[in-house]
Symmetry: C2
Subunit: 201 residues, 2 copies
């Protein structure tokens, strides 16, 4: 019995920080862990930048509410949920992903949480557990499931390697080159077919 | 951050074995663990009874496809999924529950699996893990979630007691009397309000 664990951003939907950068015109918000490997420092810079520009949670909520799933993602997810159990594992935050979950038909998602101060500005974030994606597939395995995992980036590789089957989709050249043994797709029908082959095996 | 764990049968939908007994007219299929506490023996009797009556998986699939959620269950589940993460934890089987999951909008469900022989008769069952409901809430807690749990029967009490908050719904007199410290509801709006109070706390 399988649970298929899917990353969210770039895998099924656009990157929320990029969309926020685009909508606000704040170029610094395009920085990722590729530019600043220390995630906590990166997050503190983002929080500081938003406050300096007077961007509160209300504005962010209205931006993320306008983001749409990648073309074909909803059909892929609908087809997959009709065949097996699916959980989205994402390092993003509830406040960013919530409107997207309605658009995707309320799949189950494990994500993190931002805290907001009395003035409506983001003032911190709460991660439930270290290496959340890996820890989550191990927790599912501990109750008798096999897992399959799909993602696009370096922080998805752990859960892919810890799973019975796994794939990259929409991966950057760097992550694909660094993981030549993990099959990589750029379209959902090929990914769905690969998953279905394992479900039927 | 919460995951709300919901039992399925009697909690959200009718008991599948009772529906199969009703549709086939086979009274023995109404026997439950209240009549035969040894679950494995009960399941082997059910499998034998179905074969003796010539009831194969095809017939069962057409019966369970006709079962509808309890009145109000879909609205309750829709409202809850828009507010928090929900996973259904059920001791029933994929083959029984699958059509119902479509009717409920494909919530994530952890269930078990029947095996079917070459002639189309059920010939066994596979449980992923002992005390599945308790093991599942503990697995969720191990990755940093708090859990809430809701069910109707004695085999739900473990997950309710292991969770931060829990309730009975549609419980029998016996299970309610044996657990006077667990609040019991007979309607979804009261249950939803209780869950929302904890989500907002």
């Amino acid at each position: 019995m399988y649970v298929v664990c899917l990353d969210l951003e770039t895998t099924l939907v656009p990157e929320f920080w990029i969309e926020i950068a685009r909508a606000t015109g704040i170029e610094e918000l395009r920085r990722t862990t590729r530019d600043e490997p220390d995630y906590d420092l990166l997050m503190r810079q983002r929080i500081k930048t938003l406050r300096e520009h007077g961007i509160g949670m209300d504005r962010i909520e209205s931006i993320v509410a306008g983001v749409e799933p990648l073309p074909g993602a909803k059909d892929f997810l609908d087809a997959l949920r009709a065949e097996t159990q699916v959980i989205l594992l994402s390092d993003t935050f509830r406040q960013f992903a919530h409107p997207m979950m309605e658009k995707l038909g309320w799949p189950t998602i494990f994500y993190n949480e931002l805290s907001v101060d009395a003035d409506g500005f983001i003032d911190g974030y709460h991660m439930r557990v270290d290496h959340m994606k890996l820890a989550s597939v191990r927790a599912l395995q501990s109750i008798g499931f096999d897992t399959m995992a799909v993602g696009d980036s370096f922080n998805d590789v752990e859960m892919i390697r810890a799973s019975a089957h796994g794939w990259l989709i929409h991966g950057s050249q760097a992550v694909v080159a660094a993981n030549p043994d993990i099959a990589h797709f750029d379209d959902y029908p090929s990914l769905l077919a690969a998953i279905e082959r394992q479900l039927g095996a």
